[in-house]
Symmetry: C2
DNA sequence: TTGGCGCATGGAACCGGTTCCCTAACAGGG
DNA sequence: CCCTGTTAGGGAACCGGTTCCATGCGCCAA
């Protein structure tokens, strides 16, 4: 191996100890000596081995991220935010995907996370099952969550119930009385408390407006095809059709719009559609939505975990991020109004 | 810290050496001793420190992945494939996003990749600039590429030129004579040789059919909004309108379809649209496309890098993966035919 | 009986850094 | 002039594993 610190030290004519101090900038080293060491390091092409350093310092400069999917827009945005921030601070990001009911869960928790490879772990939309939460805490390193609340872990999220209520109220204010909801399956609830909360927000808003009997919920996959299928199901009976649909995500909302178009139902004249996310494609479909900013969430989570690694103790609990209703032309007054 | 191998050894009443052998399964250990050691390890809750092990073995069980974006469908699929395969083999995946002209490039190459933290590196759609390629090789570890060809590195890809020709020929076979191409900007060519090759394939197919004078290329972002904008530009003049569009990606194709619908142009009656990718959403839009399988590509790349780490030397060069034309109803004969 | 071999195990070196502790030189203050 | 504090730098321990080498023992063949 070309380039251990001993070689640098030898070339510069100093001890390993001095070479280390010179390169790290800690401790007393005369300017000339430092200069010599730096020079030697660069001629050799020396790069420090993080493994060796971690071994003694106990810091790995590596953060683990556990996330259910990579490919979906929402999660991709979060990852980009996290990665950007970690990179800027000199940290690596090691990624594990942990699909809801994957048999790999145990493996990830036991084998990968348990080893002392990380300075901190960010759990994105992971609802720990069984003793998984305890195992996370046992790691003894800072933890940060994004999404659902995690016992004893500082978490950033949006207030899903309130956001859902906000979206539903927007439809109510426009005059709609028959408002359906297409949302995440409650069977997947294990990993996404989000689904239940958005449904609850929808129902609370209906109840507040005295529209509870109009409650109509169709569960589906949170994707465009999922939204499409659910919408077809919901809109196929012309005699009994909602005038507005609150979709739990923008992709679902877009799928809904496509279904409506294909069925000859005009949006927003015959059907208003609102989503949640602020997806990159929302504008293309003129979609009214409540924006959250997943990329921002990733940035904030990274900042929090870095602060935790630096010794600041964040109090557990959920920190709600602001959201914003963005009106476009997929929503309007119902035909009768 | 609770649980170094020395503690395990002490509890089992053996030496560190024996404990290590018992746990790794290498070397001679009597069954009873092994049993005792394993027992001790589990009562203590011992997990090996990969850093310490890497230090002496030289293997980190960690693969670096460099990729231009995370959030886009295509790259997300690749990542899922890579990650799944690495996880199954006990490897970690550390991720760096390297956007085409990002100033972070140098940082990634110098600071992150240069350290001896990886057993191998997978470069996804990275066209190295300047001495970046040489720096990759200098790492002295197995390298695998996905996408564009990389000098001296085994790469898996699809034959972009042929795929583009295939798609274009499909349109020609249907009887189209005015076929436009919406593709990636050649200014981004630095990172995506793909763009140029697809354009070349398109032109070659036109030339073969004696339609060269119909060549009409509009560069754009490879996304739905990108496709939408380009399509609007391409279709806005009714007197001079192509009857078919070959889009360089499915997202572009979908954006094109949306634009056409909004402009009152029927697909496929007035306009045929074909894409490339096999996107999850292709079916929803009845999109004819040439399927590649990015997730598969990720799996194969992971297998190759693991083989390389195991000492098998793969010869450099591009390994082309099969693709498949999937016909749906976004393409058809031109109106006049 | 002796030599050699296979198995089981312990001691110690080693991987490549960081850091503690110690010494030395050279101030400045009393 | 001596004591103390500050700056520079070296030696060595240490982080937590893996692996080389040496040792001991039982057993079989010569």
């Amino acid at each position: 191996m070309a380039g251990a610190i001993a070689d640098v030290a030898a070339l510069a004519g100093v001890s390993k100890a001095t070479a280390s101090r010179a390169l790290s900038g800690k401790g007393y080293v005369s300017p000339e000596t430092r200069q010599r060491v730096v020079q030697a390091a660069s001629t050799i092409g020396y790069v420090a081995s993080p493994n060796a350093a971690s071994l003694v310092t106990g810091h790995t400069k590596n953060v683990g991220v556990v996330i259910p999917y990579i490919g979906r827009w929402f999660f991709g945005q979060i990852l980009e935010g996290i990665e950007q921030q970690l990179l800027a601070r000199g940290y690596d990001m090691t990624l594990y995907t942990l699909e809801p009911f994957s048999p790999a869960r145990d493996r990830v928790f036991d084998f990968f996370l348990a080893r002392k490879r990380f300075d901190g772990v960010i759990a994105v939309n992971i609802q720990p099952a069984g003793d998984e939460l305890e195992r996370l805490h046992r790691l003894g390193i800072p933890l940060v969550g994004i999404g659902g609340p995690l016992e004893g872990i500082p978490t950033i999220a949006i207030d899903d119930e309130r956001v859902a209520a906000l979206a539903t109220e927007h439809l109510i204010r426009l005059g709609h009385q028959r408002i359906a909801h297409i949302g995440g399956s409650l069977a997947e609830q294990l990993d996404f408390s989000v689904h239940g909360e958005r449904l609850a927000g929808y129902r609370a808003a209906l109840a507040d407006a005295g529209l509870s009997e109009a409650d109509q919920f169709v569960p589906t996959q949170l994707s465009m095809p999922g939204g499409y299928d659910a919408a077809v199901q919901l809109l196929s009976d012309p005699t009994n059709r909602p005038t507005a649909i609150f979709a739990a995500s923008d992709e679902v909302a877009i799928g809904t719009i496509i279904a409506a178009r294909r069925m000859g139902i005009a949006v927003p004249t015959d059907l208003s559609v609102i989503g949640i996310d602020g997806h990159d494609y929302a504008e293309l479909f003129s979609l009214t939505t409540v924006e959250q900013h997943p990329r921002e969430q990733g940035v904030i989570a990274a900042d929090m975990i870095l602060a935790g690694i630096d010794g600041e103790t964040a109090e557990p609990g959920v920190r709600d991020l602001p959201t914003r209703l963005v009106m476009r032309s997929s929503t309007g007054r119902p035909a009768g109004a």
